[in-house]
């Protein structure tokens, strides 16, 4: 990411952000609400075009569908389609590799069911596979979103507070699920997190954002309580 600026109407969400994430890195994005974490992730997965500056992901542009297929995003579970059954919502992670006909057929006869059930088993929801997603609780939906990412098998995981609705044990498990398989493939994880405990246990590097700028970039081991307090101070 090179000098990326994003403006929505009159407000500036990101102001000249330079950021480089290498393979095998686990990066925590930290910052107060409105600091630009979600926008940064949206720019990285290509859903928000930068107003200026340039973005290269996995060595290519996000305009390319095949590149986007290798980037997995967990939003705050808002990306799910409530009317679909859980199995289809998880399978949506594989749409990039499917023809339109196969995607349509899968709605009648779920394709690749064993992998879907395995992914749901990992997040502890295998028994809910054929319910409608809208019937699940907030935390369960967040785990469906993680299962979708597991079947997508991306090389870069972008996670926007992926554990906000989970209890501490599930939250640890969720982050491990997001990070471990990806890193084993030589990929990277970038997660917006609020909980310092999760940051310390699951990340190597901390990037602090305030007012759309990078104000902190250090290894987790060097992170101090004073740094965090400074980040969450209300921005005037």
């Amino acid at each position: 990411m090179d000098g990326v600026t994003v403006r929505y109407g009159g407000t500036t969400a990101l102001a000249g952000v330079d950021l480089e994430v290498g393979p095998g890195e686990r990066v925590a994005l930290v910052g107060a609400s409105g600091a630009g974490k979600s926008t940064l992730l949206a720019v990285a997965n290509g859903s928000v075009p930068p107003t200026s500056g340039s973005v290269r992901v996995l060595g290519a542009s996000t305009a390319d569908r095949r590149v986007r297929a290798r980037v997995g995003t967990v939003h705050q579970s808002l990306e799910l389609v409530g009317r679909l059954r859980v199995v289809h919502d998880v399978n949506a992670g594989r749409l990039a590799g499917w023809s339109a006909a196969r995607a349509a057929w899968s709605l009648l006869r779920p394709q690749g069911l064993p992998e879907v059930l395995a992914a749901l088993e990992q997040v502890g929801l295998a028994d809910r596979a054929f319910e409608r997603t809208e019937q699940l609780s907030g935390g369960q939906r967040q785990r469906v979103a993680i299962a979708r990412l597991l079947v997508q098998r991306p090389d870069l995981v972008l996670a926007d507070e992926p554990a906000s609705a989970l209890d501490p044990v599930l939250a640890d498990r969720a982050l491990a699920l997001l990070g471990e398989p990806t890193l084993a493939r030589g990929g990277a994880l970038v997660a917006a997190l609020h909980d310092p405990g999760l940051v310390r246990r699951h990340c190597d590097r901390v990037v602090g954002l305030a007012g759309g700028r990078v104000v902190l970039d250090s290894p987790v081991t060097a992170l101090t309580a004073a740094d965090l307090a400074e980040l969450y101070r209300t921005v005037p």
Partner: protein
């Protein structure tokens, strides 16, 4: 193997399909195939090659409509007649509806369910017959009197309005009404203060919507002889004056378009009034203007109560009623009615299938997306304009055009209704797509899904419910309209009704009308059950 399992592994979950929905879906598919086969698409001849040359002449006249001063004068006077019928008919419908609402509301009947059901059932009869059918019946009683057009709109619209007004008032929370009753107010006074004000917005909105519809109905009534734009169109059509036909089509499309746009503007304002304690100038103007319009209409049409109470009218009514009862029940007629009822159902099914398919294909491009290129925005605006035109031209006009190139039968009627319904359904599907949360689809695009796949997973599952429910509702409307296109020669029960009316065979007319009402009622029932399965 030393591992001990605490419990046997749970059986893997199984996909359980919603049987009821699958049954409805497969049933609908079977009915559609049966209808297509019945329309002759599989086996018979449907094209009319002889008409192609005539169609060419007709189509080429589209660019050179008649614009001579004399004909434009005729068109202007005709348009005024049409508007006057619409306004006077709606006014009558509102008066009848307000009175009827008292008779059919649950509030009136309380726990006397049998009485309430009987009152409702009675209303279904005038509602089940199309305005044009009322027009043809009334012309036999009243002769060529302006009351024919006004009553033909007022009676069926009045029955529909009574039902809607009653529902609106019944849906108002009871608290305020009960409190007034408890305080000793009489029932009418309590209803006036406790029930009417909360329902007022809905009542007014419905009234304007009906005025909009009445313009279209008045055009159609003209086509069966009541005067106005529709009548001019039919005259020009019969004398093969294609330039004049096109002028009339443009005029009536413009009229319906103005009604559509103005009506929607007023209704949107009613749904979201500006937050201010002052009177809303737009609504005040709309209401005052409409009241003036109704007064002018009564004067312009020279409506006089005298012709309603004239002795000749009573004699004629008595004669028709005597001749119409008992209905004809000979085997030949019943067999014909049965076969044509099947035609009518097939016609409506194909019409809805055509409209639904078109609406699904056009919903995406016609929707106003949040972010898009200038080219896409222009294409979307053109498409929305096209849909507006499709619904501005009443279905019988489409039928007349299609009869050039298709042989009379189920297909031209079905396509005419389908094209018209597409105009209505396409707008609704586009609006349903616009209202969806864009994030789920954006997430699918972000992970690399193809546009079609992103639409299939991110949009279709959420938009399907409302669009299908509305399509089913339009099927109820379409079954009434099939009779109308039939009256003008496209086949089905309407064509039989036209010929029985032409020979004054009143007993047979009663039989056909009874069949129409029963058919309408059955379609309402099936559509209602299907919509319940969708929820």
């Amino acid at each position: 193997m030393t591992t001990t399992l605490d419990r046997p592994p749970a059986a893997p979950p199984r996909l359980r399909r919603d049987r009821r929905r699958w049954a409805w879906g497969l049933g609908a598919l079977a009915v559609l195939l049966w209808s297509l086969a019945g329309a002759g698409l599989v086996t018979g001849d449907v094209l009319n090659p002889a008409g192609t040359a005539q169609f060419g002449r007709f189509a080429s006249a589209a660019l050179s409509p008649a614009v001579d001063a004399e004909f434009l004068g005729v068109l202007t006077r005709s348009a005024l007649v049409t508007v006057a019928y619409a306004a006077a008919g709606t006014a009558l419908a509102l008066v009848l509806g307000a009175a009827g609402a008292v008779l059919v509301s649950r509030t009136t009947w309380g726990r006397r369910r049998a009485g309430w059901l009987a009152a409702r059932g009675l209303l279904a009869v005038p509602r089940g017959l199309h305005e044009a059918v009322w027009g043809l019946l009334l012309v036999n009683v009243l002769g060529l009197d302006p009351w024919v057009g006004v009553l033909a709109i007022g009676l069926p619209y009045g029955a529909g309005t009574a039902k809607v007004f009653a529902d609106l008032v019944d849906e108002v929370p009871r608290g305020a009404y009960r409190a007034l009753l408890a305080a000793g107010a009489g029932r009418p006074a309590a209803a006036l203060y406790g029930l009417l004000p909360p329902a007022a917005g809905g009542l007014l909105s419905w009234s304007f919507y009906r005025l909009e519809c009445a313009v279209r109905s008045a055009v159609v009534l003209g086509m069966v002889g009541a005067g106005g734009l529709g009548y001019q169109l039919a005259l020009s059509f019969a004398s093969l004056r294609w330039e004049q036909v096109w002028s009339a089509v443009y005029a009536l499309a413009a009229l319906c378009l103005v009604a559509d746009v103005a009506g929607r503007a007023v209704r949107r304002r009613l749904a979201a009034p500006p937050s201010s304690t002052r009177r809303d100038p737009l609504l005040t103007t709309a209401v005052a203007g409409t009241v003036l319009l109704v007064g002018w209409s009564v004067w312009y049409l020279a409506l006089s109560p005298a012709s309603l109470v004239a002795g000749r009218t009573a004699e004629q009514l008595a004669y028709v009623l005597r001749a119409a009862w008992p209905p004809a029940t000979d085997g030949g007629l019943l067999r014909t009615v049965g076969a044509l009822a099947v035609d009518t159902v097939q016609m409506s099914v194909i019409a809805i299938a055509v409209a639904l398919l078109g609406a699904v294909l056009l919903a995406g491009p016609a929707a106003r997306p949040a972010r898009s290129s200038a080219g896409r925005r222009i294409a979307g605006a053109l498409l929305r304009g096209g849909l507006l035109l499709l619904r501005a031209v009443p279905p019988p006009v489409w039928a007349l055009v299609l009869l050039f190139v298709l042989l009379p039968g189920v297909l031209p009627g079905a396509l005419a209704l389908g094209v018209y319904t597409l105009g209505v359904l396409g707008r609704l599907a586009a609006e349903a797509t616009e209202e969806l949360d864009p994030r789920p689809r954006a997430a699918l695009t972000a992970l690399g899904a193809r546009p079609v796949a992103a639409w299939l997973y991110g949009v279709a599952p959420r938009a399907a419910g409302p669009v299908l429910a509305y399509a089913l509702y339009r099927w109820e409307v379409a079954i009434r309209d099939t009779v109308l296109v039939g009256l003008l020669g496209a086949g089905g029960l309407g064509a039989l009704l036209a010929s029985e009316l032409a020979t004054f065979d009143w007993a047979a007319v009663t039989t056909v009308l009874a069949a129409v009402v029963v058919l309408t009622w059955l379609v309402d029932l099936v559509s209602d059950r299907a919509r319940a399965a969708l929820r």
